[in-house]
């Protein structure tokens, strides 16, 4: 790597380390998170965040000065530069470990252009494969949004790399031949199990790949390739059809898939068993669960039986185990259990206590971890439970699970949720007092009089709508929580999918479905000529008036947060006051700036009524925000480690 590349990688790692929960202990020998006060916690947090921001800015500059000129003229880059770029890209994405996924993708795309231009066939095949992998991980990051942004491109590049199988004999390099087989196998990654056509193509791609992998002709031509590993990977990919089988149920459409999935499950189970034996351990619960699921889909036993088997596996869990297997048992089993149960009304009632037990168990498991033990995997598993959450009238509600357990794992985000909720509540209250007509579009509020009568209900609704509006951000925490440099357009696209994820999560449960439209539309402009998503329609949201308030409130809070991270305020990083990214003493200044920005977009991005309300109440809002911020920070600190009340 070139020096700037090494610096970039090092700084990137440092940023992650600073913002990683594990870094929270200021002195591991003397202080632990248990003895730390809220003030100390936020002080360290802020210092780390400021430092991370300095490094992120430096990273941006490094790329601007050194990398961008090369990428802009990649065709004329000398070969040595190309090799170093390749090496740099390798460091940015190591397997599934992502140091900078989007940058990796950009470099791979440039290298593909280079290889194509200079007709470097082997390099082209390799880079196409690598580019396809980057696209696969990018698509994976937006799974919860159900948006498909990168599939066709993934399919195109893997397909192109795989198409060189027609020139197999002419390609002498063994590694390149390996990339051809891997690309062919990975074509299946481009298709989704979420729809029938995608599933059909995925199965077809896996079949084609396995057929070639099993063909003795190719094995003879390149005996040194790890054929068994390739086949195992294909089997593993075929097991992911479980999700599809869950979605489709035991219908005729999936019968031909089921037997293949069972075959793959048995294959992988045997392999895992073998590995476990070698390690002197028992087979991981994940594989046991997969096996039971496959048998259920093959019609060997009923759904009730499957749930019983999953319960047995869950009972075997170790609630102190924070290894991969521990997470799988404590969080993965409740997620798939919920998913299977959702489709069966009778069983839902029967299994109420089991479900509640599993959810509380998941909460206890997460709470039992110290803050530094929390990682992205935990967050992902929690979000997956949220997506398939089952509510019972007197049971645990999704909104509580989301806010108090999932969001509270991300303290800054949690504070943002609370602040948006509080500001929305404040504005709604002022609007009811001074301009109740604004809210007469709400259901059951046809007149100003009715609005006043329903005041408490409206305020409660407004608070929760604000609180849950940014739920979708839980799907892109890797972007919003750990900024390693300025964003590229691609990151913006990924970020914007969070409104879909928010809607998807909230729409499913009774306690949250009223807020789904707000979470979907709070970034769309008031005049519908800007913002996102374009698919959002104001007319279809009966709570649009509240969404208008949330839209302005969340933007104002985000702007304050972002302004607070700017270089101007970093000098106060040593202040020992408890802060949430912004400095308390500067709330007034930050608020004024953010308010001016909101008011400048009155009538275009924001409702003029809401913008006017903000401006009219600027004076009382400053102390209100200061107090709310302090409370939210304390609350966020308290929530870390607190077990969700049963």
């Amino acid at each position: 790597m070139r020096p700037y590349q090494e610096t970039y990688v090092a700084q990137n790692k440092e940023i992650r380390s600073l913002l990683d929960a594990a870094s929270m202990s200021p002195n591991p020998d003397t202080t632990t998170e248990n003895t730390m006060t809220s003030g100390q916690f936020w002080s360290i947090r802020r210092r780390h965040r400021f430092r991370a921001q300095v490094l992120a800015d430096a990273n941006t500059e490094l790329l601007r000065q050194n990398l961008m000129p090369v990428l802009d003229d990649i065709i004329s880059a000398p070969e040595e530069e190309i090799r170093e770029l390749d090496d740099f890209a390798d460091h940015l994405l190591v397997g599934a470990r992502q140091l900078d996924l989007v940058l990796n993708y950009m470099i791979r795309a440039a290298l593909v252009t280079y290889a194509r231009k200079w007709e470097k066939r082997d390099m082209l095949i390799r880079e196409l494969y690598q580019m396809g992998m980057a696209l696969f991980y990018m698509q994976s990051t937006i799974t919860y949004s159900s948006q498909v942004l990168y599939s066709w491109k993934m399919s195109l590049v893997f397909g192109e790399a795989a198409s060189y199988i027609r020139m197999y004999d002419a390609i002498e390099d063994i590694e390149t031949r390996g990339y051809i087989h891997r690309a062919m196998g990975n074509l299946a990654l481009a298709y989704s199990w979420n729809d029938e056509e995608g599933a059909r193509r995925k199965i077809q791609a896996i079949r084609r790949s396995m057929q070639i992998l099993s063909d003795p002709v190719y094995r003879e031509k390149t005996p040194s390739l790890p054929w068994e590993l390739y086949i195992e990977k294909s089997h593993r990919e075929r097991i992911t059809a479980m999700g599809y089988l869950r979605m489709m149920g035991n219908t005729e459409h999936v019968q031909d898939v089921v037997s293949e999935v069972l075959e793959s499950t048995v294959y992988v189970r045997e392999k895992e068993l073998e590995k476990s034996r070698k390690r002197g351990k028992s087979l991981a619960i994940r594989w046991l669960a997969q096996y039971e699921i496959a048998q259920y889909h093959c019609g060997i036993f009923s759904l009730g039986h499957l749930l019983g088997e999953l319960e047995k596996l869950y009972v075997k869990r170790n609630s102190k185990d924070i290894t991969f297997d521990g997470i799988e048992t404590n969080l993965f089993i409740p997620a798939i259990y919920s998913q299977y149960l959702r489709g069966d009304e009778a069983l839902r009632h029967q299994k109420k206590q089991v479900v509640q037990y599993m959810y509380h168990g998941a909460a206890r498991y997460v709470r039992s971890m110290s803050f530094d033990q929390l990682d992205a995997k935990i967050s992902r598993n929690l979000t997956e439970i949220s997506l398939v959450f089952i509510e019972y009238p007197d049971g645990l509600l999704l909104k509580d699970f989301l806010v108090e357990l999932v969001a509270s794992r991300h303290p800054e985000l949690y504070v943002e949720f609370l602040m948006t909720g509080k500001l929305t509540h404040f504005l709604a209250e002022r609007i009811i007092e001074s301009h109740p007509e604004f809210l007469t579009s709400l259901p059951g509020c046809e007149s100003a009089e009715q609005v006043r009568k329903q005041k408490e209900k409206i305020l409660h609704f407004a608070y929760e709508a604000g609180l849950l509006a940014e739920t979708g951000l839980l799907s892109v925490t890797h972007l919003v929580e750990i900024p390693v440099r300025s964003w590229f357009e691609e990151e913006k696209r990924i970020y914007e999918t969070h409104v879909y994820a928010g809607r998807n999560i909230l729409a499913e449960c009774e306690s949250t479905k009223r807020y789904a439209q707000t979470a979907f539309g709070y970034h769309r402009y008031y005049n519908e000529r800007g913002g996102y998503p374009e698919a959002y329609s104001r007319r279809e949201n009966e709570y649009q008036a509240i969404t208008d308030i949330v839209s302005a409130a969340s933007c104002l809070i985000r702007r304050m947060k972002r302004l607070g991270l700017s270089a101007k305020y970093r000098s106060s990083a040593e202040t020992e006051q408890p802060v949430f990214a912004v400095d308390f003493v500067r709330v007034r200044e930050l608020f004024s700036k953010a308010l001016a920005e909101v008011c400048a977009q009155s009538g275009t991005r924001f409702s003029p009524d809401v913008a006017a309300c903000l401006a009219e109440n600027a004076e009382p809002l400053v102390p209100y925000l200061q107090t709310s911020l302090q409370e939210a920070c304390c609350r966020a600190y308290e929530m870390i480690g607190k077990v969700l009340e049963e």
Binding site: V112, T113, R116, V148, S151, W152, K153, S155, L156, V157, G159, E160, A162, S163, I165, R166, L187, A190, Y191, G198, R201, R208
Partner: protein, 663 residues
């Protein structure tokens, strides 16, 4: 009745005004006339009044139905909408009818003075209208001359290299705007020519695809600007190449569509439906009623149907009666702000009828209108069969998010002898490409629709180009004007553009260009198209300095040696003084001072030299009407070019008429 009649006689016998009495439903002759009527010579004698005069003649000449209607009006004391005038001797009388005890009374009033005054006013109006028509015709040359300069200079400017994008865009817009201005001018002129019955159709082969595209390029932006949902539907198209007057057909389409857009509010809908079908046997009866059996496909009569439906403001039933009258506009507040001459529909109707067709309209106020034009047409030779061999076995991938549109494209491709797969999403495209590649059956070409692709199309097409390489034909099917989007799409690797709606002939010629045979034939064409006018000398006769400069520059660009004369007399003198065969051709303006082009041509042909009889003289005039062409030919000219000059036409004319080397 008897007692009544006596009373009647007492009242009316001495009246000054002539009075007659008819028995309802009975004889056409009056049963009573008073003294004044008698003195006037209106007789009650005889029921046959065919030789008579005056009112009884009037009553007798009416049909039974007319008499009944008149009697009804008289009985109900409603006023007849039509005045009833009759000529008695040299005087003009107005007849008034009313009912009396079940009988019809007619009183006559002498209106000779009023009638003569009216006639005088009408005659004056007719004269004024004729004067207006003459004035407009005369003005045509003067109005078109400056347009020539605008169009020509724009064309020259557009040919310059290194133009900035912005300048090129502005010039293209000037080109379009000046074209529109010419059309507006033509509207007024057309009406004057129609009024004087001087419009002649210029029939020729035309491609319906080209016709529609040219119409849609104009109309779509208008609709888009008003956020009107504009839809084009095609029905059965039995023949895509027909014989017709392309300019007049375009005019009909443009009039109907621009009107629909004009009178449809924002967010509304305008739909154009086109159909060209062979007339069924039952409809194919000759004038004498005999069957038209034995006709070939080309002879089979076609009917072209153009239907324009909108969700606009519609028309009142009263206005519908006069919608096709010249200068008629609906008088209500809704249309008061909408500009127009009120000539469009009148021109459309006249042109349609001139083509032997018909136009009808159905409209409801506040709901919209639907105009239907039906025009008989004749087929010309279909050409695409020539491409079948080149297409045989070729596979085309069609990407259109609309399954219906995709299916239509697929069907057309199959008709052309190709195989086609139609897919609806970007994922499907890539999957099809991969599958084809694995199966070893690569696609010959890729057709992508621009509309609602569900993917960022530019980025997608760029990726497809990268994947498939530079030789792979990638074509865009679009409703937009290619010149507006060309840069954007060619920059991502799109090779060509096919306008939507798709037509077999267009699709065929476009795809053929990418086959081996097509590439070969294009190469040959390009070689043949290199024009070599080097050394040829042309005499350009033009009084307008600017026009002279423009034409001179264009000709010199094609390596032609140009000599110029500023009027006909100078031209005659230059030819007279030149050596034999010195000029290869004369381009002659018509309206010039001193000696006009027609007389100059006659004078040149009369020169006592052999070479001037063969010297090609080509007329150039803004008066591009058929009678002008005829006048030019009568004056001894070889051909006629319409101004503003289209250089392609100039060059092909030169190729046709210039003497070959050695002659």
């Amino acid at each position: 009745m008897g007692e009544g009649r006596e009373q009647w006689n007492l009242v009316w016998d001495e009246a000054d005004a002539p009075v007659l009495l008819f028995v309802r439903g009975e004889s056409a002759a009056p049963v009573y006339e008073n003294k004044a009527a008698h003195a006037l010579g209106v007789s009650v004698c005889g029921s046959d009044s065919s030789n008579g005069n005056g009112c009884c003649l009037l009553w007798a000449s009416m049909s039974g139905e007319e008499r009944q209607a008149l009697a009804r009006e008289a009985a109900e004391e409603t006023h007849s909408t039509k005045p009833v005038l009759c000529l008695i001797g040299k005087a003009v009388y107005s007849a008034a009818f009313f009912s009396w005890r079940g009988e019809i009374v007619c009183t006559l009033q002498d209106v000779t003075g009023y009638y003569q005054e009216n006639q005088r006013i009408i005659n004056e109006a007719v004269l004024a209208s004729q004067a207006k028509t003459n004035f407009l015709s005369e003005m045509s040359h003067d109005i078109r001359t400056p347009m020539n300069a605008i169009v020509g200079m724009t064309e020259i400017a557009l040919k310059q290299q290194h133009l900035s994008g912005k300048v090129r865009e502005c010039l293209k817009k000037i080109q379009i705007a000046s074209g529109t201005m010419m059309e507006l001018l033509n509207d007024v002129l057309d009406m004057s020519r129609i009024e004087s019955g001087r419009v002649l159709l210029q029939m020729g082969p035309l491609e319906i695809a080209d016709l529609l595209h040219e119409v849609l390029v104009v109309v779509r932006p208008l609709a888009k600007k008003k956020q009107i949902h504009f839809l084009v539907r095609t029905g059965v198209i039995d023949c895509e190449r027909i014989v017709g007057d392309v300019i007049r057909l375009k005019q009909i389409c443009n009039n109907l569509l621009s009107n629909a857009v004009k009178f449809t509010p924002e967010g509304g809908k305008v739909e154009l439906y086109v159909e060209i079908c062979r007339q069924r046997k039952a409809e194919r009866k000759t004038a004498d009623g005999s069957s038209a059996a034995g006709l070939t496909v080309l002879d089979t009569p076609l009917q072209m149907t153009l239907q324009v439906r909108d969700t606009g403001i519609g028309m009142s039933q009263e206005f519908l009666r006069k919608v096709f009258d010249p200068f008629e506009r609906e008088q209500n507040s809704t249309v008061s702000g909408i500009q127009g001459t009120g000539l469009g529909m009148a021109i459309t109707k006249n042109l349609t009828e001139l083509m032997g067709g018909s136009i009808s309209v159905d409209s409801r106020q506040g709901e919209g209108s639907c105009f239907t034009v039906r025009i008989p047409a004749r087929a010309t030779e279909e050409r695409e069969d020539a491409h079948r061999e080149a297409f045989c076995g070729k596979r085309v991938l069609v990407f259109d998010s609309s399954a219906q549109r995709g299916k239509a494209a697929e069907e057309l491709l199959r008709e052309l002898g190709m195989e086609a797969d139609c897919v609806q999403s970007a994922d499907d495209v890539v999957c099809a490409i991969n599958d084809a590649m694995f199966a070893g059956r690569d696609y010959f070409a890729f057709l992508a629709a621009e509309r609602d692709p569900g993917v960022e199309l530019l980025s997608f097409l760029r990726s497809i180009r990268e994947r498939m390489g530079s030789e792979f034909p990638m074509l865009l099917m679009s409703e937009n004007d290619w010149s507006q989007i060309e840069y954007m799409y060619t920059s991502v690797g799109v090779d060509a553009f096919i306008p939507v709606p798709l037509f077999r002939s267009r699709l065929s010629s476009c795809l053929f260009a990418f086959t081996e045979a097509g590439r070969h034939s294009r190469q040959q064409e390009e070689q043949g198209m290199v024009r070599d006018f080097g050394g040829k000398r042309v005499l350009l006769v033009e009084d307008n300095e600017l026009n002279r400069e423009i034409a001179g520059e264009m000709l010199e660009e094609a390596s032609i040696r140009v000599e110029m004369a500023v009027n006909g007399q100078e031209a005659v003198r230059m030819v007279e003084r030149s050596a034999p065969y010195y000029y290869e051709m004369i381009l002659m303006d018509i309206q010039m001072p001193v000696l006009n082009g027609l007389d100059a041509a006659r004078a040149i042909r009369k020169l006592p030299r052999e070479d001037v009889q063969q010297l090609p003289i080509i007329a150039m005039t803004a008066n591009a009407f058929l009678e002008d062409v005829k006048n030019s030919l009568d004056a001894g000219m070889n051909a006629h070019l319409s101004k503003p000059l289209d250089m392609e036409q100039v060059f092909s004319c030169m190729e046709k008429y210039m003497r070959r080397p050695g002659k």
